[in-house]
Assembly symmetry: C2
Homo-oligomer: 200 residues x 2
């Protein structure tokens, strides 16, 4: 299975996915990495592994749909079958979602539906929860609202900062995201309404 990864930042989830592919823990390979930020370290991580890495400059496109059109064209060029958003800071357009229905995954650093949006870790801390975690889900047209594939719980400690909590959540992410991609690659995820049934 050809995986396309979209990332805006340092790409630690991308790293975990690439390494899991190398170890045979995902029945697939990363075919292309796309970033909306030229300086994203994710691009360097991909290049280091010999994986095509493309900076797609948002300034070159008149709106989100046009940008996503270019991204989809690139993904198609590399025959991508599943798209993994890994710290991709742009909301994908309904057009993008329709092009890859239930074939775009995202990872979120909270137990959705709690604390959606860009500050999941900070929001959980501010609320005062004692348990948070991370969620791998299919992307639909809403913000972090798609069907949940896998979740892992992480204890929140009283002396946690956003950094220390995020670090503990990241550890679970690096385990969870490859697992979700492998389940998908092996056809083990069945959607029933908005529930994902895992056939293992």
């Amino acid at each position: 299975m050809n995986i396309g990864v979209l990332a805006s930042g340092s790409g630690t989830n991308l790293q975990a996915i690439m390494e899991a592919c190398e170890k045979g823990e995902i029945a697939g390979r990363v075919a292309v990495v796309i970033s909306d930020r030229e300086e994203a370290f994710a691009l360097k991580r991909a290049a280091k592994k010999g994986i095509p890495a493309h900076f797609l400059n948002p300034k070159g496109y008149k709106d989100r749909e046009a940008y996503d059109g270019a991204a989809v064209a690139l993904l198609q060029e590399y025959r991508v079958e599943v798209v993994a958003l890994a710290g991709f800071m742009r909301l994908v357009s309904p057009y993008f979602v329709r092009m890859y229905p239930n074939k775009i995954m995202n990872i979120h650093p909270a137990l959705l539906p709690a604390f959606p949006g860009t500050h999941g870790v900070e929001d959980a801390l501010a609320y005062g929860v004692k348990v948070s975690g991370c969620t791998v889900h299919f992307v639909d047209e809403g913000l972090d609202t798609g069907p949940i594939i896998l979740q892992a719980a992480v204890e929140v400690k009283d002396d946690d900062t956003a950094e220390s909590l995020h670090q503990r959540i990241h550890k679970e992410e690096y385990r969870l995201y490859p697992r979700a991609l492998d389940l998908f690659a092996r056809g083990k995820i069945q959607l029933e309404g908005r529930r994902c049934i895992i056939h293992e």
Copy 2:
């Protein structure tokens, strides 16, 4: 510490609290049990342990505030210092909350702020989460919005029904609620804004 328990149903959390008190796992005792339903089995459970059990009929009061006034009078009669809602199906009034500020606890069968309200288990299943759990929190004037004292995560299985999931959550509740009451009795819970810091 004198604990007052309010319950509408079978009272399994009440049972767990009473037994934990007997074993010395809570630095307190159940001083009185109040129910808004005459046939609540919770009343029988209390009577069996020799604990005063009162049915307070909502029909005898013109509104929620009047009802809560009678409940507070009863609690004061038994010198109750902390109120534990245990399957109590009435929303307590702002008056009640003001009479026991951060001294009323509730247990909820989901990881708040996800799935508040009366169908936490069913709502979590319908959403398709992979992790749910339970929450002990202080009661404020909102619906399940008060500061969180303790939470425990519970795995949601693909073949779970509301019953099977609720059963697994209940097990955690019977451990969590006595622990929260004991922490409170021993003065180990410190509120910082809406975060509960546990000093253990």
